[in-house]
């Protein structure tokens, strides 16, 4: 059986970046959970930092340069997307939003998306729910119930009696994504040909 293709999008800016780290952890956990079900998966990581100028240029010219076009292809052809953004000024980062702005608004329809974010403090964890989730709902993606937020503190604590630690949340989210993927199998790889409505039908639709 063909391997699943996972696209992990990280909008982290520093190198190394905790956003990238979270994307990697989620991808690894998903691959492992799929492995437990006897399924293989390949991960392609997209660092938006490297595409920042191309993304800005796409706004100006209306088309993506080669590297950005390839990244967009990786995301739209993936079986699932892991999308991770730092929280800036109470929401997703501008770069993260801009990347999804230059993708066709119907290109992610029906695609499983695991959303995650990083931030300095846990006080912004609901940005995932009030900003990131609606973005993907608008794109008609299937957003998984568990969204993973990692504050700086989370990287050093294992959780307590009342809250899952970060590793626990990563496991839960990865389990959800693996379960969803294993349930329906990889999508077909064939390129979709241009859809044409025969002209007679277009004319007929206008008849009074």
């Amino acid at each position: 059986m063909t391997a699943f293709k996972l696209a992990a999008v990280s909008a982290g800016l520093s190198k190394p970046s905790s956003t990238r780290l979270l994307a990697d952890r989620l991808a690894e956990a998903t691959v492992r959970r799929l492995g437990e079900e006897g399924r293989e998966a390949e991960v392609a990581v997209i660092e938006l930092r490297d595409l920042a100028v191309d993304i800005a240029n796409n706004f100006v010219t209306g088309f993506p340069a080669a590297a950005l076009r390839e990244a967009i292809g990786t995301v739209t052809e993936a079986d699932a997307v892991i999308a991770v953004t730092p929280i800036f000024t109470a929401s997703y980062s501008g770069l993260f939003k801009s990347f999804f702005d230059v993708i066709d608004h119907d290109a992610l329809t029906g695609k499983p998306v695991l959303i995650a974010a990083t931030g300095g403090t846990a006080r912004h964890s609901l940005a995932l729910e009030h900003a990131v989730r609606p973005l993907f709902s608008y794109l008609r993606a299937v957003v998984l119930p568990t969204a993973v937020y990692a504050a700086t503190d989370d990287w050093g604590t294992a959780g307590d009696a009342l809250t899952d630690g970060l590793p626990g949340r990563i496991e839960r989210a990865a389990g959800e994504l693996a379960g969803l993927l294993a349930g329906h199998g990889p999508v077909a790889e064939a390129a979709v040909p241009e859809q044409v409505v025969p002209f007679a039908e277009q004319l007929a639709a206008l008849r009074v």
């Binding site: 706004f59 088309f63 241009e194 002209f199 206008l206």
Partner: protein, 369 residues
């Protein structure tokens, strides 16, 4: 194969001097550019249609009629005529009139425009863009081919026993192109009628237009107008030349960097690599343009965008000299090489009349048998 220029008609400050031409200067400059196109041996001049500043050409047939009076050979065309917001009855009349005045040197390109707000200025609903393009053109097509028209549609008042005057010259309507940047519906429309399809080929990578033209060629054959290779394809292009490649780059860079459409984005180098824009020597322009045939197949019309981004008239006229003297003669020669016999030439009124007469003779022979 036909070669020409198309103009957007933008009034843009010259970024090197800060000077903005007046509307009057720009309109007169467009006329001077069209006359120059004929003088240097080009075949086609096409003007855009816009109804908002900073653009001047709101009344294309007025301008083209004026140019027709000052030229003898040049084909006058549009890029594009708004099929969505113009009344098809008025398009039928205006262009038939122009066709008579210009002795048949007229064709036109249908487009939906790129300015959303234009729809309500002419009492139309932007949400109906594609249906308007389809219905209006179906009516225009009928008005030019049937003397007395009874018609009812969704977007305009019905017509009863209506005759559009004057009738097309020699009863052969102007050739029609359909221009589109991204809509497969328009490629399908052009294919259905056996009309031409024009890809502006300027602001996007060629792969994008390759897909649209491929679809148009395939559907052209599907509707029985000929083989895919016989479909009538036009392409845009955008060049800036000097004898010396480095001089061209140095001179054009401030215009590129401040251009209204793509300025302040990618560098000139990135943009020329990603799109059909060529800035360099005439030889580089020749090579890039010949490459279009590899991508899109043998085609019928090549139009270049030369007067934009605030380039002064003097510079544009120098560009046309280079285009006419050094580039187009070589392109004519090279494109003719290896061009299969069945591939049509660029459309002219004389050829359309001849084709109509030939078809008529065949029908009579059929009847005689």
């Amino acid at each position: 194969m036909q070669f020409g220029i198309f103009s957007v008609g933008d009034v843009t400050p010259d970024p090197t001097t800060g000077r903005t031409p007046t509307e009057h200067e720009r309109i007169k400059a467009m006329v001077a550019i069209a006359r120059k196109a004929e003088e240097v041996g080009l075949d086609v001049f096409a003007t855009g249609e816009h109804h908002n500043p900073p653009f001047v050409p709101s009344s294309p047939t007025t301008m083209l009629g004026y140019i027709a009076a000052q030229t003898d050979r040049l084909i006058l065309s549009t890029s594009t005529t708004l099929i969505t917001t113009n009344d098809p009855v008025k398009i039928a009349e205006d262009f038939a009139m122009l066709q008579h005045l210009a002795d048949g040197r007229v064709d036109l390109m249908m487009g939906r425009g790129n300015t959303g707000p234009v729809y309500p200025w002419f009492g139309k609903d932007i949400r109906q863009g594609i249906p308007l393009a389809i219905e209006n053109y179906a009516l225009l097509h009928q008005l030019w081919r049937e003397e007395v028209v009874d018609w009812q549609g969704r977007f305009r008042t019905p017509l009863q026993s209506f005759t559009s005057t004057p009738r097309p010259l020699d009863d052969v309507p102007p050739f029609v192109w359909h221009g589109s940047i991204r809509s497969p519906e328009i490629a399908e429309q052009a294919a259905y009628y056996g009309d031409g399809f024009f890809a502006n080929n300027i602001f996007w990578p060629k792969e994008h237009f390759q897909k649209l033209i491929g679809l148009y060629r395939e559907r052209f054959a599907h509707y029985g107008h000929g083989t895919p290779e016989q479909a009538i394809v036009g392409l845009g292009g955008q060049v800036f030349m000097r004898k010396n490649s480095q001089d061209a780059v140095r001179e054009f860079r401030p215009y590129f960097d401040n251009a209204p459409v793509y300025g302040h984005g990618p560098s000139l180098e990135e943009f020329t690599e990603q799109t059909p824009l060529t800035v360099g020597s005439p030889q580089e322009v020749i090579e890039k343009t010949l490459g279009f045939r590899e991508t899109f197949g043998d085609y019928q019309r090549q139009l270049f965008l030369m007067d934009h981004a605030g380039l002064p008239l003097k510079t544009v006229l120098e560009q046309l000299d280079l285009l006419g003297e050094e580039v187009v003669p070589v392109l004519r020669q090279e494109f003719a090489k290896g061009r299969p016999a069945g591939v049509p030439e660029g459309p002219t009124h004389a050829a359309l009349v001849a084709a109509r007469d030939a078809a008529g003779t065949n029908e009579k022979e059929e009847v005689a048998k």
